[in-house]
């Protein structure tokens, strides 16, 4: 069970984690993109952080909707619409909710995946944040199906997320700027995959 309070703390923690990793994410993007991924996300999540007090009394769905709108109108680049749409879809899946149970969490992960497929037209193996989101969603779903409790399932999911993140290293990119590099993208982490893992891990921390 994750409460609304935990989500708010989680969003604060995400803003901090992105700020801390801003240069790292930007360096990753410099290698195979245009050197702005950390800067972009930091701009957006600082805005989110700033506005959190004004929406702290709303339900999780409204919170996510607000995060979505803030990201969409302040991040720009590819990650703005992508993370924006992820939170937009997640907000529909969590409309009116004050806390997240195992099922709601499953719905969020599905919404995340659908958002990227819809908005980015990406597939598994394209060297994008989807290479984190799909394994996470699948690991979570089978863990729950096999009877794991929420914390255990989430732990399994996060391990899959991490593996998914690292799975992007050898890949040739098929979407986003890195796709123009062809073979030269191999051997580098995808910046979006790194930020996706970081956000998942930080936002939904049952131990908060």
């Amino acid at each position: 069970m994750i409460t609304k309070g935990q989500i708010i703390q989680g969003l604060q923690a995400v803003a901090e984690a992105i700020a801390e990793n801003k240069d790292y994410l930007t360096e990753l993007d410099a290698a195979i993109g245009d050197a702005d991924h950390g800067i972009n996300l930091d701009r957006g999540f600082q805005k989110v952080l700033e506005q959190l007090p004004t929406v702290a009394d709303r339900d999780i769905g409204s919170l996510f909707k607000h995060v979505s709108m803030t990201l969409i109108s302040s991040v720009g680049g590819a990650s703005g619409p992508l993370y924006g749409t992820m939170f937009l879809r997640a907000s529909i899946a969590t409309a009116g909710k004050e806390e997240l149970n195992a099922e709601a969490m499953g719905a969020i992960l599905v919404a995340f995946v659908e958002a990227i497929v819809l908005r980015g037209k990406a597939q598994l193996g394209d060297k994008t944040l989807l290479d984190v989101l799909i394994p996470t969603q699948q690991a979570y779903q089978s863990a729950i199906a096999q009877g794991s409790d929420f914390p255990t399932a989430w732990q399994t999911a996060l391990e899959a997320a991490k593996t998914g993140r690292d799975s992007t290293i050898p890949l040739v990119a098929k979407k986003g700027r890195a796709s123009y590099l062809g073979d030269r993208a191999c051997g580098h982490l995808d910046p979006g995959a790194v930020s996706a893992y970081l956000i998942l891990k930080t936002l939904f921390d049952p131990n908060l």
């Binding site: 050197a35 800067i39 590819a78």
Partner: protein, 357 residues
């Protein structure tokens, strides 16, 4: 990092403020969301032409707002696509009742943000179409990549479609023209040096003293291939031949369909350049390369075109679509027909480009 800036995070804003003061007779600037628009907008009955993208490519797009070109330009952060609210607010400011055409460079960020913007604008009752520019022959396939990037042809499309909008083209006719320009334009670029995104503070990539990047985009990103330094003639030849020998290029592009109120996919093919074609030849500086070097490139380009029996009937030489202070150049060849040629020659009056008026 040495730049003529104050705060690395205020570069876009302060540059816009400078433009607003300098060109108050031609343009207005709206802040938060940021967009530049014609001082005489909205122009009733005229289709409004909007473009935008990351900053750092100046004069593109803001320098091209004015009579005979854009009605509005939406600048994102440096090398970062603008956000949909910018395009939506710009559309509201310049919509003259005849619809809005967005010219969008084919980068995943630009495409997604402009698609969201078009959805929002159409939902608010402003008939809005997006036409993608994807002219960069450095990208060979569209199946295993994001597809070709939008580069030099964007400048030419903004000039040609801007003139057409001024002459009263309907929204659909303007979109058809813009698609035609895109299908007839091809570009290829290279870098001698990297560039430094102000907020990052160090060069995006490192190039050795005798290394160059071939097949770059316009965001300071590394190219398709790293080569050892070559002569201007060899570089011009490589760029020109990538364009001249580019086979028909087929890909699927999404366009908004006004009747369906939804996106539709279209398979489109660039016809190859052939002996006998008339072209506009555009030699562009990536920002830090001086004009004198562009003419050395042009000199060789003209020779190669002649060998291929391609007739250059118009030219454009200078820094029009740049990557900050990067040194390097790109070549664009746009096959012209009578319609495009006439529109190219039409008057234009913007901060960065003026003739005939």
């Amino acid at each position: 990092m040495k730049k003529l800036i104050n705060d690395p995070n205020a570069v876009v804003r302060e540059s816009l403020e400078g433009m607003a003061i300098a060109h108050a007779d031609l343009i207005n600037v709206h802040y938060q969301p940021h967009f530049i628009y014609r001082a005489d907008a909205p122009i009733s009955g005229k289709v409004a032409l909007i473009s935008g993208g990351g900053s750092g490519h100046e004069p593109l797009h803001g320098g091209f707002v004015g009579l005979g070109m854009l009605d509005a330009a939406c600048p994102g952060e440096v090398f970062t696509s603008p956000t949909p609210d910018q395009m939506l607010e710009a559309a509201k400011a310049v919509h003259g009742g005849a619809g809005v055409l967005n010219i969008v460079k084919n980068y995943s960020g630009d495409v997604m943000n402009f698609e969201m913007a078009a959805e929002l604008a159409n939902a608010e009752g402003i008939p809005t179409l997006n036409i993608l520019i994807d002219d960069d022959v450095a990208v060979k396939d569209s199946l295993y990549t994001q597809g070709r990037r939008g580069v030099g042809t964007t400048v030419l499309a903004e000039k040609i479609c801007g003139a057409a909008a001024e002459q009263g083209y309907s929204l659909q006719a303007l979109a058809d023209l813009c698609r035609k320009v895109n299908l007839n334009g091809r570009s290829m670029g290279m870098a001698l040096t990297s560039c430094t995104v102000p907020a990052k503070g160090s060069p995006t990539f490192e190039l050795g003293d005798r290394e160059i990047e071939m097949g770059i985009g316009i965001h300071g990103e590394p190219g398709r291939q790293r080569l050892t330094l070559q002569s201007a003639d060899d570089i011009a030849q490589r760029l020109a031949e990538s364009i001249l020998e580019d086979p028909p290029y087929t890909r699927t592009l999404r366009e908004w369909n006004l009747d369906a109120g939804d996106w539709i996919e279209q398979e489109l093919t660039n016809p190859p350049l052939r002996a006998g074609d008339s072209v506009l030849a555009f030699v562009n500086s990536m920002g830090g390369t001086p004009l004198s070097e562009l003419y050395i490139i042009y000199r060789q380009l003209a020779k190669i075109c002649q060998q291929h029996q391609i007739q250059i009937v118009r030219q454009l030489i200078g820094p029009y679509i740049t990557s900050l202070e990067m040194q390097g150049c790109s070549i664009t060849l746009l096959k012209l027909d009578e319609e495009m040629l006439k529109l190219w020659d039409a008057p234009v009056k913007t901060p960065a480009w003026r003739w005939g008026i």
